[in-house]
Symmetry: C2
Subunit: 160 residues, 2 copies
DNA sequence: GAGATAATTTGCAATTCGTGCGAACAAACA
DNA sequence: TGTTTGTTCGCACGAATTGCAAATTATCTC
């Protein structure tokens, strides 16, 4: 995603207004590698700007995505996550703490779907699920059964 | 997924009852390669057994998944899909008609996430998005293709 | 600066997908 | 046939996200 300053210019160039709410969201997304949900961003935003609405957060995220400044990712948790990293990359998700990390996959674009004829590939997504280093370490320290439940137990905020 | 007959035995072995609703769902899933949603299965089931409830369809699907007879997949459409194919495989999704096809990916298990240290990979998922052969053909024939929409009729995630 | 104007923000209703719950029901078995 | 559970099913509820319209405000014009 572009810097808040560049985004400001982009917005004006698109005939969109530069509101304090939008500027705040730009700053919260800048260099944000946590793949936050709208709700998570709303929580943070509310801290700095009490009164901002969740609706506005959603709207701004959606327009950023529409403008290609942001990527939306859905990992099957029932919530949409937002990723300011629009470069070609993939993700690793920890089954224990829920942390989502950007990863690179060598020769990913060379992957081919076998078993379908004439399928024209536009995009390839690779998702790794497993246990992150930090969780692996703490499980060795104090072995407690840490199993990620299917649905409602979706992880709030990775605390590493 | 096992055959309806085998599932019947499995169910009994698990102390579960073999109801007509369950048997119907077993048969609807057998050799089903459409990756149906609960609602889609409910529609079909209702046809053969008027009065069956959506609740029961959900319940049966969930228990089959719990027993490992079925795989749940979430491709970010806002709905859970069910896949009787529990073998190691991946998916290709047509951006035009929404069809989801099973595909094989060579050396998929050899993929490694670069950029994270000590991440212990349990599972790798590869998703191809693009245009299926059939849609590709019809788009060449007539400029307006068939658009099957589920929830987000809006344009799929554009990245890069 | 003051005013006009169209874009934004917001709160709230509505929608969608799925689950919790409990009463009515029906397999399984003696 | 009766008893014992496990099941079914309707309905309320919950979470995530969007539709809507009134109130607000960024931005432009003079
Ligand atoms: Mn990312
Ligand atoms: Mn499949
Ligand atoms: Zn972790
Ligand atoms: Zn297609």
């Amino acid at each position: 995603m572009n810097s808040p300053a560049v985004l400001a210019a982009t917005y004006r160039a698109h005939g969109r207004k530069l509101t304090p709410q939008r500027q705040l969201i730009f700053s919260l997304l800048h260099d944000n590698t946590t793949h936050p949900t709208a709700d998570a961003l709303y929580a943070t935003a509310s801290h700095k700007m009490p009164g901002i609405s969740l609706r506005t957060v959603y709207q701004t995220l959606n327009e950023l995505a529409e403008m290609g400044e942001l990527q939306t990712i859905d990992l099957g948790e029932g919530v949409t996550r937002f990723d300011p990293n629009v470069d070609d990359h993939h993700h690793a998700i920890c089954n224990v703490c829920g942390a989502i990390t950007d990863v690179h996959v060598e020769r990913a674009s060379a992957l081919r779907p076998k078993g379908v004829d004439g399928f024209n590939v536009d995009d390839i997504g690779v998702v790794f699920r497993g246990v992150c280093a930090s969780c692996e370490a703490s499980s060795k320290r104090s072995p407690s059964p840490q199993v990620k439940k299917s649905k409602s137990a979706s992880t709030p905020t990775p605390k590493h």
